[in-house]
Amino acid sequence: MSGPSFWGQAYEIGLKDLRVEGRTGEVLNITIPFGAVALLLIPLAIGTDRPLIASIGPGMFWVVTLLFGMLVTFRQSATESSANREMMVLLGVDPAAQFAGRVVASVLLLLVFEGVLAPATIILYNPDPVEGWAILILVLLLMAVGLALIGTLASGITAGLRSRNTLAPLLVAPLALPLLVGASQTYEALAQKSSILTPILLLLAVVLGLAVVGVLTARFLEEASR
């Protein structure tokens, strides 16, 4: 009797992660309010210059998404002990399927995170409106996928280490730079009505590259976590 297929395994892993989130409510009850507090604090720190706040609003949104989105992607590995990982090996779960499942779960949670904080940014910062909402939604999706991929990779690299809580953000924040550049450049291009091709291609290339590296190295990271 054969076990579930690759995508079947990925689905189960993703569902397990989402169930854990459903029980703990960490993203919804803690990370999203934390991100909203950050969005509130920034204008207080820089003063109440309304044009300035409106101009930095989109950038602040991307930074908050990056920094707090990291917490969303690390949450799954924080709940996993080495016994959990051993059990996955004994069950014969494909490491690449585990990776894919975790990434998909993180993407969904990050989309919820972005879905709540994007309107909050518009209300709080009142940025100049831009045309091309469909493109912005695509950028939000690419940002979520890219961040989920980097976060899941960093979680795998630092799994079980004592310094994990400080080391993983140190790795993710600089690695997420292309995502930040791609997202902010797309917004700027939309605002100036110039070509969005280069930043969108950058985001796509990063997402594709990380997905390939993540799937190819999943087995090695699983071996190194035992």
Binding site: I150, L153, G156, I157, T158, L161, R162, S163, L167, L170, L171, A173, P174, L175, L177, P178, V181, Q185, T198, P199, L202, V206, G209, L210, V213, T217, F220, L221, E223, A224, S225
Partner: protein, 241 residues
Amino acid sequence: MNRHRILGLIALAAVLVGFYFGGQAPLDQLQGDYTRIMYVHVPSAWLAYLSFLVTFAASILWLARRKPVYDRIAESSVSVGVFFTALALMTGMIWGYPVWGTFWDWGDARMMTTALMFFVYLGYLALRRSIPDPAMRATRSAVLGIVAFFLVPLSYVSVIIVRTLHQGITVVRPDSPIDGEILLALLSNVGAFTVVYLAFMSVKTAIARGEEQLEEQSAAADATPAGAAITAPNLEKVRDV
């Protein structure tokens, strides 16, 4: 005289030759003597890229073949690469203050990507220090060495992607506007810094090999031999009965 000293002396001689050409090359009309900082800045940046490329290749080889030499090369090259990245950043800032009027330009994509590359590879070294098990350390670092590398081409092409104050790609392009003597000085310094890289790598890989041997000896000394809890039978008493 051992191999490291010979390489060190060759590196020193190469740097002196490079600096000689740098001193002889004509100055930029506007920048004056600050032009000469470029003969350290540009080779440092190129060598940083080369170091991380070597780490990338050695990391793939470690994952494919599991030979400790690849892990040593990957680690050593990151250590040397971090040094060159720091040197490129510092010389860039020293040059930037008189020429651009600021040490750090927030709109400069090359500076930002290089600084972030520096921090990712510092994270690589921190990761290695966090993992005591050699095989686990090598594998996890190899994955990071592969993932982190994508910042290198990004840093290189950042001057094309983002509108920036930093000078665009100048040397490696068909219609390069660079003066022949300046190019000679630049390339001789790139050559000299490459020899410095090789000298550093030679010493660093030797240190890494020594550390590995020390770890192995320490692990062997700490390990309790199988059956250590069982004491030998006292045969003299058996004879007495």
